[in-house]
């Protein structure tokens, strides 16, 4: 019984050590990707509140799972978009995209901001991850839980629509 107790202590220490290490890894991911993740969700949702909540919640979930998350960066990118999508769904997809949210940014961006508001959610998420985050279609498909071919269609249509809208804006 004593041996079992010692083994349990060793196991517990090892488990905590792994979680400690995992916590550090997750913090590093936050430092490296957190801001970009937040901006990607902000671009997709049009809402600072949704971006704040999704990013904080995704990292909180990663911390809770500890060493069970083997590739925190990939896992977090996927989860942050899933959480944001869930949040938008709960809110009835009322996305704000208010110009005040991006006050002070150059006009070409503000035009893009207005144009993004007119895209369906999946197109918007796909084009943000492709053209802002620089992801491949395969990576986007994984993050959004979609197929590579569907992402290709979303990105293509989103770009075309954005260009059309921006041309109208410039005209």
């Amino acid at each position: 019984v004593q041996d079992e107790g010692v083994e349990a202590d060793i196991d517990r220490d090892r488990s905590r050590h792994e979680d400690d290490e995992a916590g550090r890894r997750i913090e590093l991911v936050y430092r490296e990707h957190g801001a970009r993740m937040w901006r990607a969700v902000f671009l997709t949702s049009g809402s600072r509140e949704v971006a704040d909540d999704a990013v904080a919640e995704a990292f909180a979930q990663a911390l809770r799972r500890g060493s069970a998350v083997r590739d925190p960066a990939a896992w977090l990118w996927r989860v942050v978009f899933r959480l944001a999508a869930g949040e938008l769904k709960e809110r009835g997809r009322v996305e704000r995209f208010e110009v005040e949210s991006v006050a002070g940014l150059p006009d070409p961006f503000v035009d893009l901001w207005r144009a993004l508001a007119k895209l369906p959610l999946k197109q918007r998420a796909s084009v943000v991850l492709a053209d802002y985050a620089g992801w491949s279609h395969r990576e986007i498909a994984k993050a959004l839980g979609s197929s590579v071919s569907a992402v290709g269609v979303h990105v293509h249509r989103a770009r075309k629509r954005l260009r059309d809208l921006l041309e109208d804006e410039d005209a």
Partner: protein
Amino acid sequence: MPDLKERFSMIDQIGSPDLWSDARRRAMTSDATSRSVSLQPDRWRRAATAFVAFAVFAGAADFAWNLSHPDVAPRPRPVPAVDLAAELPAGWSELPAPPEVRSDAATAWTGSELLVWGGYEYVGGDEDPSADGFAFDAAARRWEPMPPSPLEGRSGSAFAWTGGELLIWGGWDGGFRDPPYLGDGAAYDPIARTWRMLPEAPIGARAAFSAWTGTEMIVWGSTDRAARRVDGAAYDPISNTWRTIADGPIDITDGSAVWTGQEMIVFGAALDSNNHADTPTAIAAAYDPEANAWRELPASGLSPQAMTASWLSDELIAWDYDQASAAYDPVGDAWRPLERVPLAFSECRPVSVATVGTVFGEFCGKTVAMSADEGEWRKIPMPLPSDTRGECCWVLEPVVAGGVVLVPAHLYGMQLDPLERRMFAYNPVPAARTNRMGEVLDPEPFFPPTERDGGLLRMPVVFPDGTSATLVYPIALDLASLGVQPAVSYLWRSDPPPRFPIVFLHDRQASIAEYVSGSEPVGSVPSYQRIEVWRMSEEWSDRRRLPQGHWLRFGLPSWTVLVALEDAGQSEEIARTPAP
């Protein structure tokens, strides 16, 4: 006008809030109700417990843990994946028998465990479904009971493995009350060894067809011949929500649901209680979760009475009880006939499952396989005792476990009791392609880039543990032209067999006795002191199904590399190639 990427990059001028402390605070909070992003309460509780453990450790206040959490056991840690395909010999082998052989159970291969929950043990009568399950620990090679679940016993549930949880929903309770179906579900986390209930589904109780898309478990239709259903729902475990899906265009009560990577194909037929089908052939429809839309597939030409289907590479492979077989190509939206399954007609229901590059089929206790390379069925006789002592029948319940198929099997007797339980494993052997030396190439030849360095070639290789090395060898020993593929060959543990015959030993002191015969090399390369020729051990050759041959042993600063050569004459000729 700036292009889109330039416009997007302008958002980097916006400052993002520092959410790290918020994330840490949330991770330590057990009250989920204040969060606007909903999570399952069980997960919150479990996760919060885990994080408290982390925080306590960080503060080195070990005693505090024991004081404040006297009842919290050490949190189970993720178990490394077990690659049975690498560990088991090609073809059939046997593993420890399960406590029971469950039919119509919810099953999942977690990467290290086979979970079997619910279902019933068929011994020829009407058996009650169970409310418990077993897990086969592949590393320890033993079966253990799963923790008690919050669900009542059931069979024929919709189920899916999400990568972290076994989802179970609905099913038949084994009774005949009206209706005898269940409409609740739960998820089992094998790492935490805990269950949580699923939220209420937006569809009625039933035993449904199901498929896992990578993000959702789709639950559709019903296997109830008395109540046809075409509605369905999809459960997303991350948001812990259900959504309803579009109604299907066809009725099916018997058949298979298969995920293609883009669509869920349901294939089968609607039968009545007398086994009469609504349609002259088996029918199918495909659901696209992206578009939330269905499309009907052309008629298959297969019998609607009993059939099965699995997804192999890029086609649906279907097979009926009359042993006719056909493949459906979603791109061309067309069926093509396949050679018949080489088994005799019988009144059994065919069953098939697909693992990497191979469909495994079972019919009346007889087993067949079709590899994507061969494109035709072949018998793979199972090593069951032929003498069944006058008893009745073998029941086989195949489940995919990574690259192999595990087949719990039991023989039941005339007294309707299980007489013998076994578990077999089938490790598929795809059609071998060989290079000019007769070496097996698998699955596609891959030649890592090499750099010429005088008379040497340098080949960088990266190993699964993230370390890397450069294989340096004389041009005369052009491993690439021999088909030697270090990068791929080291990955043999996750590739379908046969494995590529090259072995890296991390530790130069590591014993190579496992691979070679004798204690001394049978030759060496005079010009290269660190290349020796060893005779391959019979055991290793048998295990890998390689013809008896030789190894070239390369001694590198931190690695020993064994390269298999099948033909002794050729190996010596190569080994004696003079230095350039």
